[in-house]
Every structure is written in structure tokens, then in C-alpha cells.
Symmetry: C2
Subunit: 318 residues, 2 copies
């Protein structure tokens, strides 16, 4: 039974950053963070049409045109789908997270916008029904309509994209003590370039290693087996190529693992890195030693510590 909600005049939404790939699940796994994330405010106005009236926190890097900005463009697609193109909407996007960080920046913005417009109109669609619109937004932002960031940003938790024909999202369980340490080193690795470096052919034996590992990771998540989770999170295919673009990658990994992290790897296409830890304290420690090391090398960074965000987007009451 669908809950019928009232339409509203203003909605303010936060949607989370996400870590895609999770080391052994290239293009199919991802999870949501509590921090950082983006905010979108949508106001209903008299004049029909969708307008982007304010964007902050992007240093002018994002498109201002409604049809080119992923947030407004996906809201327009949503309104066309539900037959409400006559409505008047003013949108604000407040970036509270770095762009080009490998933390699903465009996905966080797009999901915040879609969740906001859906809430404003009384939730005509379910969260899962918003996914295709969010994937369109990714297509516009990154040149490919993958769901490995938008699915966890929208649904929360750890998500598996089993397949795309049709899109099949499986929610995976989250062991209670699991925490993430995330560090964004201030070096520039555009997603498009990072994807282009990856070989289109891989050795079958490496692929077998990879799918043994992803199967082990899923089993570890279902059984709260932290050791199995840790030893499954290895990447013999993508990481060796992408790590080249990330200064100090192997030293950061050594430090994280020495500090007791379960696993360490690249977040999405980088340059952000993440580690899984068994407690908030351990994740805090891992973040701090990685950031200290980067500072010593003259590299600035943002550091985060977060549990796995089971909620996805949430409304902020002003």
C-alpha cells in the first residue's frame, strides 16, 4: 500500500557521499557515508518551469544551465515522467563535499534533488523508482549511466548492482561494527581519465580471483565475518592501474593495514581512498595517520570517519 503524503512548498534534503567498487566489486558494489554529502533546497513558486537559482560550494565548476546540470536535468526528467511539467520550481544546490574526489559527488547532488522533488510532491514514486532518473543524471555527469554511486546514495547501506538489463539492485547486510575511514588527497584525477586507463581485456585467471573475492565479501557481510570481509577486499584488476594516479597509495595502505584496518582501497575512480575498520575509534585513528602522512608529503587532504549510512537521503528541517 502506498502512503499518500501531502504536497509541500519547500523541502531541504541532504544526500550522502558514497564509496563505489569496494575494492573487489568494480562497477557493482557501493556504500553510503554519513559524512560528507550535498544539500538541495526546492521551493514551489508561481512561475512554471525549473530554475537553478543558487549553487554554492562548487567554485563555479558545475554547469548553471538547467539542461546541463545533473540535479536540475534529472528533476526535469522526473517531472516529465509524472506529468507535472506545469509546476514552478526554484532549486538551490549546496555542495558540501569535494567535486572530482571519487566519492560520488554528482550522485549525492542528483539524489538530493530527486528525493527533494519527490518529497515536495507527496512522494508519488518510491525510492527504488527514483533510481532510473538518478542514473540518467550520472550519464550526464560522467558519460556513463552506472548505478554504483546513485544506488547506495538513494537507498543507503551497501548495495549490489547485480545487473543492468533491467537494473537489479540488491541490498546487502551491514555488520554492526563496520566503520569507514575516508581520505580525499588534494590531487586531481578526473573520472573520465581514470576509466580510460583501464584495459578492456583482462586475464581470465585474474577475473576468477576477483569473483572469488566478491563472493567472499558478500558471504562475510551476511555472517558478520570481519576477517573474511578483510581478506576478500583485494583487487588484482583495476587497482594496479588506478593506484598509479594516486600519490602515496601504497604507503597509505601500509599505514592503514598496520593500524589494524580490515581493508584499504580506492574509492570509485579515486583519488579518495578508504579503509574499513571494526570501530569508530579505529576508523578515526586510520584517517588521522593517513592525513598526517599526506601532510608530511606536502599533500593537503580532507578526512572523514563514518559508519555505513543505512538511511540514504534525509530531509533537513530548517
Amino acid at each position: 500500500m502506498k502512503t499518500v503524503s501531502m504536497e509541500r512548498d519547500t523541502v531541504h534534503v541532504f544526500a550522502p557521499a558514497t564509496v563505489a567498487n569496494m575494492v573487489c566489486g568494480f562497477d557493482v558494489l557501493g556504500f553510503a557515508l554519513y559524512d560528507p554529502g550535498d544539500e538541495v533546497i526546492i521551493r514551489r513558486v508561481e512561475e512554471p518551469g525549473v530554475r537553478l537559482v543558487n549553487i554554492t560550494g562548487d567554485d563555479g565548476r558545475l554547469p548553471r544551465q538547467v539542461s546541463k546540470n545533473t540535479v536540475s536535468a534529472s528533476v526535469v526528467s522526473f517531472l516529465q515522467h509524472i506529468g507535472r511539467t506545469n509546476i514552478g520550481i526554484d532549486m538551490e544546490l549546496h555542495k558540501r563535499m569535494p567535486i572530482g574526489s571519487g566519492l560520488g559527488s554528482s550522485a549525492a547532488s542528483t539524489v538530493a534533488g530527486l528525493y527533494a522533488i519527490n518529497t515536495l510532491l507527496g512522494s508519488p514514486l518510491s525510492r527504488r523508482e527514483l533510481l532510473p532518473f538518478a542514473m540518467q543524471g550520472e550519464e550526464l555527469a560522467c558519460g556513463h549511466g552506472h548505478a554504483d554511486n546513485v544506488a547506495p546514495a538513494l537507498l543507503g547501506g551497501i548495495t549490489l548492482i547485480r545487473g543492468y538489463d533491467p537494473v537489479d539492485v540488491v541490498a546487502l547486510p551491514v555488520p554492526p561494527a563496520l566503520h569507514a575511514s575516508v581520505v580525499f588527497p588534494h590531487v586531481d584525477v578526473p573520472t573520465r581519465d581514470a576509466r580510460q586507463m583501464i584495459r578492456t581485456k583482462v586475464a581470465l585467471k585474474d577475473a576468477v580471483t576477483q569473483w572469488g573475492n566478491i563472493a567472499g565479501l558478500v558471504a562475510g557481510l551476511f555472517t558478520d565475518d570481519y576477517a573474511l570481509i578483510g581478506r576478500s577486499m583485494q583487487d588484482v584488476l583495476i587497482e594496479p592501474t588506478r593506484a598509479i594516479l594516486i600519490p602515496e597509495f601504497y604507503e597509505m595502505r601500509r599505514l592503514a593495514m598496520e593500524a589494524g584496518a580490515l581493508s584499504f582501497g580506492i574509492s570509485g575512480s579515486g583519488p579518495s581512498v578508504f579503509a574499513f575498520a571494526r570501530s569508530a575509534e579505529q576508523a578515526t585513528y586510520v584517517t588521522s595517520i593517513i592525513q598526517t602522512h599526506l601532510t608530511e608529503q606536502g599533500i593537503g587532504s580532507n578526512g572523514y570517519v563514518s559508519g555505513i549510512n543505512m538511511e540514504g537521503p534525509r530531509e533537513l528541517r530548517d
Copy 2:
């Protein structure tokens, strides 16, 4: 705590046939059947040394030399490991399943032998500790020491070989209604040839599809989600090549899926095929329509219907 058991004079063991790969888990997944399987009888005798005194059911195809036959060779390795080479052993191997069928024939024999000698000597090793000896047997029989047949034959249930360095076997849960339909068509596909046909390089996008599917299958097994199990069991990498060697493969699949099977695919390197069904009745029906179709095409076959064997090898009390 290790249970200390008495040494015995005679042990008679059955070990099961197994289905490796499970469509989307090439070289890493497998499960055990109740039927068919092989039997080994081990008797303690005065004269030191290991002897193969009787082999039946193999049409003379298996080596009679102790060092060349996988069953006796792995028993010798085991005795060397535990320092009991002075013992006298007469072994009988009774093949109760077809050789070269893709149903783990060598694994069933080897596991039966190892389980029998271990039981005879009061179980000095655990089942998991027998695995390396069984893998040595596979090396001798097939030219590669994979564990995807010996692990389920030895441990029962559905097993994942997460990795080989060191070997890491994860037991996966088995949804209660799951049953297997298995058909061995009487055509010859030697394992070595079937492996050699497989390309050593694969497209990354196909590998991504494959690991999305294996992750979905593992999640489906943990949640008793039969529909997810079914739609995850697809193989875009290996099956297209191996299916060429199996007459009527696509017609058998069409018939099985029409009859309500959850999934259909090649068992190991073939030519046996298997389907998952949601009940013994459905599995029985699927086996019968596949065998009927093969008969109409002039192809003989063996048909089996089995739940997932959770036990692995078992002692037969004569």
C-alpha cells in the same frame, strides 16, 4: 577439542558427485549431490604398503598403479604426512558414477579414499585438513589442483573457494527447497580439451557481469531468494564456448526453463548439465523431459535428481 576415535580394521565410504562452477562461479563454486557417487573400501592388512586390489565400474579406464591412481596416490600422501607409511592397506574402488561426465568423478573417488583412510586411523585430521591431499589428487587426475569439486565432495553443501593463497573455503547456506536435476548425455568431452577451448583473456565488461551475478547468487543463497538465485545464474564467459561441445544444450535449457527450473547450465566442464528447481517433484520432471528429448535425438543419458548433499562423504555400514 579433537574427538579421539578408535582405529579400525575396515572402512567402507561413499563420497558424492559434485557440480562445479554453478554457472556464474567458474572455478570457485560447487555443490554436492546425494546421487551419484563412488565407494572406497579400505582394509588393514599385515603386509606394509598401499595396494589397489580391486577397481570396478570403470571399464578399465583408470590407472591400476598405486602412484598413478588418484585414490591410492592421495592416500599415500596422507600416510606420509601423518608418518604412518609402515601400515599395510588394501583398497577397493567401486565407481558408481560415469567417468568424464563433468560431475567430479575423480574428486568423488579421491575424497572417498581419504575419508576412509582417515576414519580407519581414528580421524587424526579434520575434514578441512584433508583438502590439500584431495587437491593433490585433482592435480594428478586433471592436470590442475583446483578445489571446486573436492571441496563440496569433502565438506558437503555449497562451497566457495574464495582464493588459493592459501586455500580459503567458505561454506555457503543452502535454501531448504533447492533441488538439482542432473543429466549426463553420453557424449565425450574430456576435461582437458574443454579447458583448453576457453580464452585466457576476457572482456572486462563481461567479467563485471559475471561478478555481479556471483555476488547476486551468494546473496540469494543467504536470503532464500529463489528468484534472485535464478536470475543470477547466468554465464556470459565460459558457457558460450563450452556449450558448443554439448549437443542439444540450448534446447535442453529451453525445456528446463519452460518446465519451471530456476536455472540451467553446464556441470563443471560438461557434458553433464544441471538445473536448479524449487522441489524434488520439479527436479524429477526436469530430468525426465531432458532425458526424453535426448532419447528422441538418439542420445543416451543418465539422469539424477538430488537435494543438496549437506553431509559430504559418509561411511557405509556393511
